[in-house]
Symmetry: C2
Subunit: 520 residues, 2 copies
Amino acid sequence: MNGQTLSIRRIGIDTWRENVAYLHRDCPVVRAAGFQALSKVAVQANGATILAVLNVVDDDRIVQACELGLSEDAFARLGIAEGHPAQIDHAEPPDSIAALHRKIDGERLSRQDLLAIMRDVAAARYTKVELAAFVVATHQNELDRDEVLHLTEAMIAVGERIDWRHERGGGPVVDKHCIGGIPGNRTSMIVVPIVTAHGMCCPKTSSRAITSPAGTADTMEVLADVELPLARLKQIVRDTGGCLAWGGTAALSPADDILISVERPLAIDSPGQMVASILSKKVAAGSTHLVLDIPVGPSAKVRSLPEAQRLKRLFEYVAARLGLQLDAVITDGRQPIGRGIGPVLEARDVMQVLAGDPRAPQDLRQKALRLAGRVIEFDPDVRGGDGWRIARDILESGRALAQMNRIIDAQGRRAQAVAPGALTLEVPAPAGGTVVGIDNLRLARIARLTGAPQVPGAGVLLHHALGDAVRQGEPLYTLHAQHAADLEFARRMAGADSGFEIGAAERLPRDIVPGAAGLA
Amino acid sequence: MNGQTLSIRRIGIDTWRENVAYLHRDCPVVRAAGFQALSKVAVQANGATILAVLNVVDDDRIVQACELGLSEDAFARLGIAEGHPAQIDHAEPPDSIAALHRKIDGERLSRQDLLAIMRDVAAARYTKVELAAFVVATHQNELDRDEVLHLTEAMIAVGERIDWRHERGGGPVVDKHCIGGIPGNRTSMIVVPIVTAHGMCCPKTSSRAITSPAGTADTMEVLADVELPLARLKQIVRDTGGCLAWGGTAALSPADDILISVERPLAIDSPGQMVASILSKKVAAGSTHLVLDIPVGPSAKVRSLPEAQRLKRLFEYVAARLGLQLDAVITDGRQPIGRGIGPVLEARDVMQVLAGDPRAPQDLRQKALRLAGRVIEFDPDVRGGDGWRIARDILESGRALAQMNRIIDAQGRRAQAVAPGALTLEVPAPAGGTVVGIDNLRLARIARLTGAPQVPGAGVLLHHALGDAVRQGEPLYTLHAQHAADLEFARRMAGADSGFEIGAAERLPRDIVPGAAGLA
């Protein structure tokens, strides 16, 4: 308010996508300006301004009365050295807050409104509370398809974009993505070798697990380095046609990255936010063609076929207007894919499929071939319907395995193979009958309790799938862990509810995706 | 997850109604359990459990790898000494989160749902993000009147209640409250002396300003101590029949207090939340009879008469079911009340009215008499319609002033009178004409910039009201400040827009409250 000068101090606290300023309670500006904890303040130094939430400090060792403490996020964003003078003032609400309030009051937002909001979100001018208000307001007062389009465009506009023009040789830049929620669904690690062996450019970047027992980046990391600087990534793509790397944080769709920091703890995943999040990241990552996997099942993210079709149409509408070629595939999401859940166990499934090992899980193989076939059909020289056969030939000839090994070597092969967790425990069927239900969420949770993904060898190894007949006491799955305490936690959770439902064969749910069990 | 033991450390950071736990990045439990910044964790020590949001720390001076740092809020709530062993684990979402999600999805909440949510809110089991979700969800998906009733009951149930049975002598415990938004509206400081002089019990507790230039507690503090322990307050009420004290924080309606910490920064004030907030605090404070002031005007909280009537009916519905006698009065909120805005200037207005000073602002006098008359009519021995005359007699006889002096002396009279800020500046009319509009929000903001309420003598002294004829250059109001920089900030804001609209007399807006200008 009256702009007293303070000295910047970096505070080693990670406040995760929220700028926090720490001021001592005896700081004259706190008293004069009537700041209180959680006031929103503007910090100015050397021409730069950031907004931050205030925490009032009573401990001289953290900040002194003449100092302005900044959390790691705030310090990095202001980008000014410690000890530099700074001024602090009441923050005017960011301009876009008026648009946020109109959305809360039920109005439709314009392209300009959404751009202004995403610009302020990306610049960390929203507090967590304001972000939560945006997420809830756009969930309750569902965004129409043009609002979703404009949100997606805004997310792209406020971030960086990767350009693969020099690496792709003029052809399409293809990608394959799943909306998530199905444990063990590691098709990308099979699709990328196949389609790049076919000669396509597929620079696949993936996430790490946040709430699941493994992300593609975690599983690939069992085999190779995945944290690669962009220049190195581009060289690998130039050499091999593809990669399987960690997508890194923030830069590609920074507004989405910040929104996720409140969507996740709120467990809100509305269709508009999902479409904007996925498509903004794909376009920013330079993809021109995308095969999208939408699994449907009672414990999947999408629970019914009509819901999946609505979501598919929304993806298609937005993608078309962004100039992104999209092939959205609704798949069977009634149960996990493959046998393993957890990085090492999933990597083993993937390598068995690539190696043509007779023990390879056939559901993972079939699904990967189906998706790879759809990607291959983006090739203008491939006739519609031929993709699956081409993909299968590449896999069976060993060319996909050879290509995977090239990618692993290019990224940096892990010197030592990581083994599955040595502590094991079998979870038995409580009764004989047919497996009529498998709860994806429950199995993901049990797998996380074993230690996955932090302990790569931890996880769940499934012995049965839907429709299997089991005898009482026969193992349904094996828990793998590294620490006895983790194994005990997972055992208890599996004991309370194994996630498997055993019943009469007639109760087996029909696949709600017609033809999804087929090959194309 | 695997329950490693850490040593509790109190961290002198005020995180304002949110529990924050600080763990070092190298703490084994952070790595093993896969905690990351903003994870919600459960802290257990000595049989007590709290939920907290995690901040990851990279500085040994704040916490070490074997320590569990707790923010002031979290430390106080856990109530366990420093150095005590504690365990930390992933937090299960509080049970009521399922109900929150149902509200987000548009469902109606039951009495049990709202009780469960308020219980978790009061116990600080909700993060700021979850609180924001509740506030936005119940604003967008407006609560019906039974939901508002159940929310109010829940807020009362989870807090403490004051019982005035020993102080009131069996009669009603009366109160008077305004929904806020009108600068200078200090009627309580006139109503309380009048109605207690009439022999009623009126233990008035008020708030301090948060976003306004003065709360009743700030203004009363110019004259007397307002921070009084409950036992002392009860003695004062026993001796004088009333008090004008600061309501303190939290204990009376702790859930509301926590919700306000996100409603305020979001500037969301929906009818249901307002009714629950006000009525829960009144019932918890032991009031049995309440006169409620609902000002209406273009820059008041309520903008139209139909809106005011809807709000009035909602207050009446809930109050009736709580057994609270309510008389809700819709008043003229087109402009500030009295001449002063800011603690000292408002206290002067109040004392002039009580002293029968001919310079006393007549609008403040009339409004206070009207409200006091309504309170007096709660007295079963007073005939309907006689209240205003009784109140006027008490005021004109000097009994109200004598009673105010008793209350001031009982609370502890300020040794030295505080003078209005010595730095002054007049804001002139930019043109001649009639005052046809005065913006409450703008004047409140200008008054805050002068330094009110932190600087009690700072504020705005109005020279004109709606309908006054003014000449060009004639002062509309005077700014009072203590610091030159504050005066300059306020001058600039007043220069950009004084908050006064000068125009042709025909444009003067009619009072939208029929009869509100009248006496009863």
